[in-house]
Subunit: 188 residues, 2 copies
């Protein structure tokens, strides 16, 4: 069986270019401590030194509309910028009530009430991100989404402000588990 | 690793309660002939007698809005009705252009132009269906969706009419592979 080419594995353990600086539980159960984060394409199943492995696949947008996507495509930075020596891996799970909502109800909470896309757009081109969906993988995953962010150390306060705004939204009332893992690397 | 509890495997081979009566290719490549269809929960990877295995997971609705969902919940029959001795497994893949559209663009084609949900509602409670998503599984799957239908033999003409209506839609211009597998079983 071939692996989904859009699948990524986030491996907490003893190896990886990203040094884990904190693992903060915002709601629900935390994740065990680990020293390094390794992000790999494909399904890395059992690296011998791993403490945890979370998987997610990039996919088509679920809520973004054309005018929003055009702005995202124009302004969003790519991952791997040399100056972006800080990373954050935010894993969230949404509750059963969220998943029983219909598309129009979820979009209304996500954007019309919570301005999730608009908030993200306000932090471009400072903060790069890649969203991974975990809920429809073949394995039963502990989170629904993993978002990976990269930014320069000087933009850490902006990143904290972005999270603060998202945490205050109506949408976040449906989040029942959230773990925020911060990492740093040497500039190349 | 635990298997996604919403994952199903469709196995073409020599065993299963459903006898395969035809495999029709509507677009793209067909599937090899097989005698029986076995539908199993979980990821059946390599039954020794299988000719092909397709996998998909049920998930939250991507386009259905509240007024549509309420009617679906009221009127849709469950799978496994004793009189429903005919089945159809329709596997489709949509092209890259479809997947690059935004949510509002896809909904407009799917429902406002193509009336996909409305067409399905017209055939309730005659035809039971379950939709499976294949595109975000951990494995690279040959189709994006598998829809499983069950109906009584006397409703075969209605089912053909449903497919004819869907094939004539704007949405179907984005389908680049479609295989229609018909099956039958003895009434219990």
């Amino acid at each position: 069986m071939q692996v989904n080419p859009r699948l990524f594995s986030f491996v907490g353990g003893n190896s990886g270019v990203w040094k884990i600086t904190s693992i903060i539980r915002n709601s629900g159960e935390s994740l065990p401590p680990a020293e390094k984060l390794h992000i790999a394409g494909g399904a890395e199943t059992e690296p011998s030194d791993s403490v945890w492995i979370l998987r997610g696949a990039t996919s088509n947008e679920r809520y973004v509309e054309r005018k929003e996507k055009d702005r995202l495509l124009r302004e969003q930075p790519s991952l791997g910028r040399p100056e972006a020596n800080c990373g954050a891996m935010i894993a969230i799970r949404k509750n059963a009530q969220w998943w029983s909502l219909t598309q129009d109800e979820r979009r209304a909470i996500f954007e019309e009430k919570s301005h999730h896309i608009k908030i993200g757009l306000d932090y471009l081109p400072t903060i790069a991100r890649r969203l991974h969906h975990c809920r429809d993988l073949s394995t039963s995953e502990p989170f629904d989404f993993i978002t990976w962010f990269e930014f320069a150390e000087r933009d850490t306060a902006a990143f904290e402000q972005l999270l603060k705004q998202l945490h205050a939204t109506e949408e976040w009332k449906f989040v029942d588990r959230e773990v925020d893992i911060r990492v740093a690397r040497e500039k190349p």
